[in-house]
């Protein structure tokens, strides 16, 4: 059978000299899920942008159903049956599901008036065919991220996509939503669609793909079938060296209680109680991981601990001192460090140079500030510190003066880690510390976390990746509907047992 899509010898060099794709061959057959695996910046997105008509290749050819084509722009790509589901959704939040799906392809009745009834009916029929539980009249802003992604898929299929490209579709999903989207992709493939699944997550491509093509520095470095390869082989192909997927660490030497939380209650932004009487102790020299399905109060718990959100009742102590009413600044001065979940929105000022981002939380402390009332910024101290941190944390940047926004996601996260993992750290709160990062960066950050623990820091880890929590933590607490429903030593926290608690709140 002819490939639904075949790309041959595709090469693209950017004006900056970066060789994004070099003689890349890639094809996908009808009914097949073909994973494109590679680290951030390996050239996956460039290849797909070429396919979607957003970037013109320097050389190489594209064939659809065996016929050579040139794709001028996205409209052309859509007309040829290519559908793209971007990592960041292209939906209008205030419009309904049906309106978003029909956007630009509205069904019009007499006098060019949009026929909403007929449109809603068709969208409902299509959703039912794909097995999506979506109400056509629900507004996008009321939907979960997973549901929004389905709307994107619906949109592509509605526009006649036979070749469906999903760019890092699981990056924003919970584990449950991830397995649901896999089922959707299999059903679509079963109906004859050709699916390109872009990812850097090894276990996911193993779980969902029929075929895996690994790309590194713009070149295809291997093609494997899931049954005939191992996760470590894929990791090695992707990174270009042996990587340790397990975190090497010695036993925890837990000391005194650093963070003590008693009967903490926290309300979310709408006034609902999100954290319901949580008791928690994190000791120096230990990593306490919080497992839980996203949205069970972890976010509000973290915000309360770092001082972004007031607790409605209960107490928090750092090193025995009550900080329940303390500001973010006061807690930071007590040795709290925090890696927020959303690095671009909350962790960095993207339009500031790297060196300013490295002092964002310490800008008014010596040696970065001096003079009366610490009013003067010491630029040479700031830059010297930046150079040291860039070196020590292996941040890949051409200089400390470039804007943080120009760095890759992994390097942006390293920037935050470099800033927060300071020497006088006592309590470290990590929220999704490796979300969206490639294997190499994850390995690096995990090693740094363990190093901090071994130096005596108390670490609270919140992650939607259950495997990360299980691998990294000395103790695991499971959070369900605002409560801690179980706490285990790492050795006793079996994956199934924790998973059951996460899903139902009870171990039986």
């Amino acid at each position: 059978m002819a490939a639904a899509l075949a790309m041959r010898g595709v090469t693209k060099r950017y004006a900056t000299g970066t060789l994004a794709n070099e003689a890349v061959d890639f094809d996908v057959r009808p009914g097949e899920i073909h994973a494109l695996l590679g680290e951030n910046g390996a050239g996956k997105s460039t290849l797909m942008n070429i396919l979607y008509g957003l970037v013109a290749p320097d050389s190489g050819e594209i064939a659809i159903d065996g016929l050579p084509v040139t794709i001028a722009d996205p409209a052309d790509a859509i007309a040829r049956g290519i559908g793209m589901v971007h990592q960041h959704f292209m939906l209008v939040p205030v419009l309904t599901v049906a309106e978003n799906v029909m956007l630009g392809r509205e069904i019009v009745g007499p006098a060019q008036i949009v026929d909403r009834t007929e449109g809603g009916r068709r969208v409902r029929a299509l959703a039912e065919r794909l097995g999506f539980d979506l109400r056509p009249d629900a507004r996008i802003e009321q939907l979960s991220v997973g549901q929004q992604q389905r709307v994107e898929i619906l949109k592509a299929v509605y526009r006649g996509a036979r070749i469906l490209v999903l760019d890092e579709p699981t990056a924003v999903l919970t584990p449950q939503e991830t397995s649901e989207i896999f089922a959707v992709l299999r059903r679509l493939a079963g109906e004859g669609a050709a699916i390109v699944f872009i990812s850097h997550k090894l276990d996911e491509v193993q779980a969902v793909a029929d075929r895996i093509t690994v790309i590194r520095r713009g070149r295809v470095v291997g093609e494997r079938r899931p049954g005939q390869t191992t996760t470590s082989e894929l990791a090695e192909l992707m990174v270009g060296r042996t990587v340790s997927l397990r975190v090497d660490r010695g036993r925890s030497r837990a000391g005194d209680a650093r963070l003590e939380i008693r009967a903490l209650r926290v309300a979310d932004g709408r006034g609902h109680e999100a954290v319901r009487s949580v008791d928690l102790v994190v000791r120096s020299g230990e990593i306490l991981g919080i497992a839980g399905v996203a949205g069970n109060g972890q976010e509000q718990l973290v915000e309360a601990i770092v001082g972004l959100r007031r607790a409605t009742s209960g107490t928090m102590r750092i090193d025995g001192r009550d900080v329940t009413k303390g500001s973010i600044r006061q807690r930071r001065d007590r040795g709290l460090a925090y890696v927020p979940a959303d690095r671009q929105r909350a962790g960095l000022v993207l339009s500031f140079p790297v060196y300013d981002n490295l002092v964002l939380t310490r800008y008014d402390h010596a040696p970065f500030a001096r003079g009366f009332g610490r009013i003067l910024r010491d630029r040479s101290a700031i830059q010297a510190s930046a150079r040291r941190l860039i070196e020590r944390f292996d941040v890949r940047t051409s200089s400390a003066a470039v804007d943080a926004g120009t760095l890759s996601g992994g390097n942006q996260q390293k920037l935050i880690v470099a800033r927060e993992f300071r020497a006088d750290l006592r309590l470290l709160v990590l929220d999704q510390p490796t979300r969206g990062l490639d294997v190499g960066s994850i390995e690096f950050i995990h090693r740094q976390v363990v190093a901090q623990r071994d130096e005596g820091a108390a670490i609270l880890l919140v992650s939607a990746e259950l495997d990360e929590v299980l691998q990294l933590s000395d103790r695991v607490a499971v959070m369900y509907r605002g409560r801690i429903v179980g706490t285990f030593a790492a050795a006793d926290a079996g994956r199934d047992r924790v998973g059951r608690l996460m899903a139902t709140g009870s171990a039986t």
């Binding site: 932004g269 770092v306 001082g307 972004l308 959100r309 007031r310 500001s327 973010i328 600044r329 930071r332 925090y338 927020p340 929105r345 909350a346 962790g347 960095l348 000022v349 993207l350 339009s351 500031f352 300013d356 964002l360 939380t361 800008y363 008014d364 500030a369 610490r374 009013i375 003067l376 910024r377 630029r379 200089s399 003066a401 470039v402 804007d403 926004g405 120009t406």
Partner: protein, 382 residues
Amino acid sequence: MTLARRTLDGWRLVAVPALSILLALALAAAVIVVSSAFTPGGLDVLLPVRAYSSLAAGAFGSPTAIGNTLVGAAPLVLGGLSVALAFKAGLFNIGVAGQFLAGAFAAAVMGAWAAAAFAPLAVAAALIAGAVAGGVIGFIPGFLKARTGAHEVVTTIMLNNAAALLLTWAVTDLVRAPGFSFPRTGDIGNAALPVLAGRNLHLGILLALIAVPAVAWMLDRTTIGFEIRSVGANPVAARYSGMRPVLVTALTMTLAGVLGGMAGAIQMLGVIGFYAPGITASVGFDSIAVALVGRSDPVGVVLAAVLFGAFRAGAPLMQIETSVPVEVIDIIQALVILFLAADVLVRRVFRIRRARGGLGEPETVTRSWSSPEVATAAAEPR
């Protein structure tokens, strides 16, 4: 970064303001040509050339002309800095008009009170009074934004009217000087700014030029300035980092008010001489234009202020020599702002790419409008 790259970036930064000015002059020329058809002289295609050369002569043609330009530019430098400083914190200060009037009024009252005192003391007292009054007027919207989230665009515009009317009442009923046929403050006597050179080149110009590096230094080299810029560039990250967007907002608006008040004070002590109801506060709105044209950069603000000062200084000669009315200047200024606001259009026409990094002022204007991010960042946990 290579020098070529740096130069290119620099060009991208100034290209849009420079081209907006050129486009505005060209379009205003068309207006002049078309309107000449309705004058006794009949259609005159060369009229814009003569009008613009008279304008230039009136602005730069003689030492007196240059003096007038600089005198007109001085309050615009301070007002432009006021707007630019607020932009850096992600705030849109439309309140320079009110801050200007408050500063002018306070300087006039203090100046009249100290009119017979030792001159340097009288001048200093009047200037400080103007700065403080402007600061108070600036603090109010800053405080309201910080405490309640009330949008500064709304509150500053309303405060402009409130201030003007309140001061009219004050000068009519509270501090009216005896012996005049209309309500006004007394003579400022020794509090008048000394003339440094020429006929009217007063000390205020020097003060404005000192304020420029002072503001630049504060933004660049102090922790307060870093907080202001951080809150402006990413209020969420600023709050997560332990900064206090609430405090920074109130402080920035107060400082912007001080600058606006100083603009009023030097205009009062250097040019006007006494406060009377209905004194013009056009400096207030021109300051917004100056900040936009100057890209909120302190040096850019000076250049833009000189340009706008030149327009105002040169316009009378243009009207005398060519009968082109001074109101053409308003058309030019309005067009400049229009093109700056529609910078996408200018970029498209001249194929200029956006300069890297940084938040453009138009984005500040639009983004700060009921942006949930800004609102949530401003609200302290309760």
